[in-house]
């Protein structure tokens, strides 16, 4: 797309969100890079927000609209993981995780909606996960939130269609992020095996291709769906699972 558009990306200081922000900036767009701890040296215009709260979600949308004079798309990427068996899972951590992974995307859509309608070709992109489609034990909140966000994406697709708004979910498997890198060294220590064997033997046993997905590859997919080629994908999931859901 040749015209300059404006996007809001959450979780933009690191990992997938940062790669998405960098890609959209490279493509010539304005990006508000929202994060709990924004990186002033990172891509896009940094904006600090605690997405567990309502007001900061609203402030982020307002900042993007006023800084850029328009807002064409929201990319909800911010997330974290809590690993615990359900009978021990702390209720407060459940509430926090649902707040960031499920409620924040709704709030962003809610507040950005008039701007997305005004755009005429608006986008709502949720970075979900293969865990939006299948489960893993000990991740009750994460898997519930990721499945839930798919319901939100579908509803927004139905509501947005008359206004030209496209709503999609991108569902990656394991991506090379600081969160996963830490798991690799932890698992290597825990199992007493070399770090290079952790991927194949522990983390990626359910992916057919035993390699991590690069954040830039997820950004590539986002860049595609927010472009004109993404319109017909509305209401659906783009699954980047390295064969996880194949069998």
């Amino acid at each position: 797309m040749s015209d300059r558009r404006a996007y809001l990306v959450t979780g933009a200081a690191s990992g997938i969100g940062r790669a998405i922000a960098a890609r959209l900036v490279d493509d010539g767009h304005d990006v508000l890079s929202v994060d709990r701890a924004p990186d002033d040296g990172g891509p896009g215009r940094p904006f600090a927000a605690d997405l567990t709260l309502r007001e900061p979600n609203k402030a982020a949308v307002e900042e993007a609209a006023s800084a850029f004079g328009r807002l064409d798309g929201v990319v909800a990427c911010a997330g974290f993981q809590v690993v615990s068996p359900v009978e021990e899972f702390p209720e407060d951590r459940w509430d926090d995780l649902i707040g960031v992974l499920l409620t924040s995307p709704f709030l962003l859509a809610r507040y950005a909606w008039p701007a997305l309608v005004a755009s005429g070709d608006g986008r709502f992109v949720a970075i979900a996960s293969v865990h939006g489609l299948v489960a893993s034990a000990f991740k009750a909140a994460y898997v519930s939130a990721k499945h839930g966000v798919l319901g939100l994406v579908k509803t927004l697709a139905l509501e947005g269609a008359p206004h030209g708004i496209v709503s999609v979910a991108v569902c990656p498997g394991y991506v090379r992020t600081p969160l996963v890198e830490r798991q690799i060294s932890d698992q290597a220590r825990a199992h007493g095996i070399p770090a290079e064997q952790v991927l194949e033997r522990i983390l990626l046993t359910r992916q057919a291709r035993k390699e991590l997905i690069e954040p830039a590859d997820v950004a590539e997919t986002v860049a595609f769906v927010i472009g004109p080629g993404g319109r017909s994908y509305t209401g659906s999931q783009l699954v980047m699972g390295n064969g996880w859901t194949a069998g």
Binding site: S136, A141, S144, H147, K154
Partner: protein
């Protein structure tokens, strides 16, 4: 009495009205003791209690609040000694298009429909694990599979239940516990009958079977899933929708 649920205790949230009431009746008919949760409608709850002396207890609470869930589970366990079956049926709607939806409406629906199922499961699971047996059924909706205009909150919670169901099923699979999901389509309850006649006729026009479902048709599926016979079914979503989502 000789039913396949003799001696078992079932907690059914929203168990005094609509689909939940049909589930309560069905499980009572199989010999279970039923603890019915309700939030506000004590007329229906009391009616269920009065008609089934000694077989039913009723428990008021807001399942969107973890403390209420823990208290209700403690009450039921104290009165009946255990909980073998949990049916997370209670659900609410607060419809608006996303553009107009009050964030309070989002939070209320998420807390009751999704977090409530987690809080209650969290509270009953230790007992089920200790006894090596349990049946959990989450009542979702076809809307969790399709989305629906004006129901961003409801759709997100109902699809969220699919993820919760599968994760719990994985975690409990070797402990004699099954966790499944039932996804009804449009069922003839007060919630659906409140839809304007013209709109309802349009909905029915899209249902291949050509009519609304009856609450009992959902209850019969739940009855099977919570029975000892269904021990090899876990992590499943069973559609009961008249062919709506083919």
């Amino acid at each position: 009495m000789s039913g396949r649920l003799d001696g078992q205790v079932a907690l059914v949230t929203g168990g005094a009205r609509g689909i939940g009431l049909a589930i309560s009746h069905r499980l009572l008919g199989q010999g279970a003791t039923v603890a019915a949760g309700y939030s506000r409608d004590d007329v229906h709850a009391r009616a269920l209690l009065d008609k089934n002396p000694g077989r039913v207890s009723i428990h008021q609470g807001n399942i969107g609040v973890a403390e209420d869930c823990n208290r209700v589970v403690a009450e039921v366990t104290e009165q009946h000694g255990k909980i073998d079956i949990l049916v997370n049926n209670a659900g609410i709607t607060a419809d608006h298009t996303a553009r107009k939806m009050d964030p309070d409406e989002w939070d209320r629906v998420v807390r009751v429909n999704l977090s409530g199922a987690f809080y209650l499961t969290h509270a009953v699971l230790n007992g089920m694990i200790e006894r090596g047996y349990g049946r959990i059924v989450n009542i979702s909706s076809v809307i969790g599979e399709t989305g629906n205009i004006g129901q961003a909150n409801y759709a997100a919670t109902k699809s969220g239940l699919f993820g919760l169901t599968k994760t719990l099923a994985l975690e409990t699979a070797r402990r004699g516990i099954t966790v499944n999901c039932v996804a009804p389509g449009f069922i003839a309850t007060d919630m659906v009958k409140a839809v304007p006649e013209e709109a309802l006729a349009k909905v029915i026009g899209h249902i291949p079977v050509g009519r609304l479902g009856e609450p009992e048709e959902v209850a019969r599926v739940v009855d099977f899933l919570v029975s000892p016979d269904a021990g090899y079914i876990t992590g499943s979503v069973v559609d009961v929708n008249g062919g709506l989502n083919m």
